[in-house]
């Protein structure tokens, strides 16, 4: 019943595609720029991935720091366990969001970023409040540490499942009266709408290519893994590179690579080479575990499972729903972007999105990775599980782990769960004679 696993091979730099090397360079460059910011007199704004206003910040020549990205990078580099212990030593409870504790711990240990360079302190905390209620508490803690100004952008929750005109007006008003004045103050520059428009134009170009890449997974077999590979694909878009020429060229290179994979009939690229056989197409809900990211991924590709669509890759923008940054309406488009992030969607909208993915991507199943320390994501996931099964007739699987706390990744149990689930899919396909 099970195909032989691909033979394990030590990955080499040669396995990396140009887009990967490019991204690595871009990110390293960004961290270096951050580390030099104080000497070079550049100002730094800490902000969150969902609802990030990168183009607006860049239009003031401000550099963004994304604490969640630092935390997940620390998780992947096996540093988060120590950082979390450090935060707990300072009185933070075991049950708090582990991104927060990882960030606080990193700060307490000298704020050395994932590339080994020191991160500059913030000149402004830009709090975009998009669906994750922990964000506010997180920046409250950072403000105590840094004693710097805070700009608050309150993004109304999409409780009715759609964006209403007054939502947009409300955000635009906050941008004009709260965010832009503070950015002007910190940067010492005037708001330049033409510059912002230019950047938004670049964003839209890159977004087109990203969506093309994500939707390539509709092809059977898929040339990409839209979750384990997907988290890399969204990297530049969700962090510091929206609205930049570098961002545009990254997504162009990436798209060409995926086009090439499609032409050559290659499966998704994994750390052990191209995945040869696509045995299961799955949709994934919830963030990945970062501390054992490779191990977690291997549990899927060893079994021939490919994630063809995921909700996590939409936390920093739901571009495959049709949204593009629109240079004609610069502040309105930023408002709509913030409102549309996955974290800001209510349960019925999340359900509808996942249902659409299961159908459009012809998935055999879907899986939920429930994150212990993330209430925003976890609330309602069991309901999602049941309702999705009922609506689509496709079976769901449920696993539990954490973002960056290594203590909550129980490899044996998770592997067992995944294997059981995939064998259940086999059995469903083959019927009684499995």
């Amino acid at each position: 019943m099970t195909a032989a696993s691909p033979s394990p091979r030590v990955p080499t730099e040669g396995d990396k595609e140009p887009s990967m090397l490019l991204q690595k360079q871009m990110i390293a460059g960004h961290y270096t720029a951050l580390s030099r910011a104080p000497q070079e007199g550049r100002k730094v704004v800490y902000t969150f991935v969902p609802g990030n206003l990168t183009e607006l910040l860049r239009s003031f020549d401000l550099l963004p720091v994304l604490p969640e990205i630092n935390a997940l990078q620390s998780g992947m580099r096996k540093l988060s366990g120590d950082y979390i212990a450090e935060a707990e030593k300072h009185g933070h409870s075991e049950d708090v969001c582990t991104y927060v504790k990882c960030d606080i711990g990193m700060l307490k240990k000298g704020n050395i970023g994932p590339t080994g360079e020191r991160l500059p302190p913030p000149d402004l905390l830009l709090l975009s409040y998009t669906g994750c209620f922990t964000f506010m508490k997180w920046f409250e803690l950072l403000r105590q540490e840094y004693d710097c100004p805070v700009a608050m952008l309150h993004v109304p929750y999409q409780s009715e499942g759609r964006i209403l005109p007054y939502h947009v007006e409300y955000i635009v008003q906050q941008l004009r009266t709260e965010v832009i004045p503070k950015l002007e103050q910190v940067s010492g520059r005037r708001y330049d709408e033409d510059r912002l428009r230019d950047m938004l134009r670049l964003s839209a170009q890159a977004e087109d290519d990203l969506v093309w890449v994500l939707e390539s997974a509709k092809h059977v077999p898929s040339p990409i893994d839209a979750y384990f590979g997907g988290v890399y694909y969204i990297g530049p878009m969700f962090t510091a590179f929206r609205g930049t020429a570098e961002g545009v060229s990254y997504y162009r290179v990436l798209r060409e690579e995926v086009e090439g994979r499609l032409r050559e009939g290659l499966g998704p690229l994994t750390p052990e080479g191209s995945q040869e056989k696509e045995r299961y197409r799955l949709v994934m809900e919830g963030p990945p575990n970062w501390t054992s990211f490779r191990e977690f991924w291997k549990m899927f590709y060893d079994e021939g499972a490919v994630i063809v669509a995921s909700s996590y890759t939409k936390v920093g923008g739901l571009y495959d729903g049709g949204f593009r940054h629109d240079p004609q309406r610069p502040l309105e488009t930023l408002a709509e972007y913030c409102l549309g992030c996955y974290t800001n969607l209510g349960l019925p909208t999340r359900l509808a999105l996942l249902e659409r993915y299961i159908r459009e991507y012809r998935a055999d199943g879907f899986m939920i990775n429930s994150i212990k320390s993330c209430n925003s994501f976890s609330v309602g996931q069991l309901l999602i599980l049941r309702q999705l099964e009922q609506r689509t007739g496709v079976p769901g699987g449920f696993i539990e782990s954490d973002l960056v706390d290594p203590r909550y990744f129980s490899a044996a149990n998770i592997k067992n769960r995944i294997e059981s689930y995939l064998q259940m899919l086999d059995q469903k396909r083959a019927g009684v004679n499995a």
């Binding site: 032989a4 129980s410 149990n413 689930y421 064998q423 259940m424 059995q427």
Partner: protein, 443 residues
Amino acid sequence: MSTLRTYVGIDLGSTTTKAVVLNDAGDVIGRGITNSRSNYDVACQVVRKEALVRTRFTLTREAISGDPSLAEVEKAFLSSLQRNFLLRQHLDQLERLQEALLTAADDPRHGAHRRELNATVENIVDRMVERAAVHFSELAVRKSDFFRDLATADYMQLAEQHSDPRGITFDMLCGLFDAAILIVENATTQGSFETQLRGALEPTLEAATLVVREKASRLREVVEATCCADIVEAGTVGTGYGRQRLPFPKEQIRSEILCHGLGAHAMFPGTRTALDIGGQDTKAIQVDADGLVVSFQMNDRCAAGCGRYLGYIADEMNLGLHELGPLAQKSHCRVKINSTCTVFAGAELRERLSLGQRREDILAGLHRAIILRAMSLLARSGGVSDEFTFTGGVARNPAAVNALRELVQENYGDRTLNISADSIYTGALGAALFARRAAQANA
């Protein structure tokens, strides 16, 4: 004798390892169970061997039943033969235990005590041999069939009697036993079935009634034929936590979820929901009319509320695992236990005892606490449908069953609750059924 095709399912659980042998028709013809002892390779070999030995026993039984001339002696002869056979096996193990104990006693660190220690050990083992005959006598009720359990209980009691705080101390004797029992358990050569069965046959016949002895030559023939029967393993499937350790190719390994689902369905074909509470995990499984799994949930981050929880509580209360349920059932006023953590439940238990609360009331609360956790998994997996089958080691605990019955009734209304006396073998049965399906599909 013709060749017998068999299909073997092995379930490597965290506490015990089980094996089930099926024939071509899918009937269970042999079972085996042993402690997993963190050594799945050995557990797997031991349990497989035991199940195949039982299979030969089934052959003996079938041959005797099928012979009209043996009809009147069948029952008496078989039960006596089985007891003598188990005794033979037990004595073989004791012999190995003695060897291992003497080797351990010979360690230079025992210095001047070595000779005295040897003598004490020999004395204790002699007494254990005497007790063995009692364990396997006709009316004996054994608390456990595991050699380790029986030998530990006997040895510890005798060691206490034979120790002397100024000479051979109880601690010294315990140390020897801890080393020796591991060697005995990890030995996979446990004597051949043929030797043990032949060894059991003569005493059985000697002690038998005249009616049985008159048939002695025919009985010898039957037993001899069983010893020589050609048993072929036409398929094997492994499951359970240790399944990755099984020396089988991947296609012969199935997840315990599928095996428990199919096993529960085979035991009770009306099953739509199955709950399995094992040593370290609880599984809530929904199956369709063919026994195929449609959804499942397992405990993930923590194993509180599983079989080991009860094991821990039993240790804390200085009771045997099998005594917990019956004691809890004597409760008239259940105590509410809040802890979800096994270790904290132990603390809560001690606190309650110190407050003067009754053991049975506390135990009743602990059983309910376990079942409440299982109810939450059942709810996650899609609820409890009719019929509902409860499997795993904990299904043998009457207090757990009562708590489950109550809570299912409260939450889901009337449901038929199935529990098989052999529920601990559910996973192995499912695995054997998969082995049979695969082999028959390939044939």
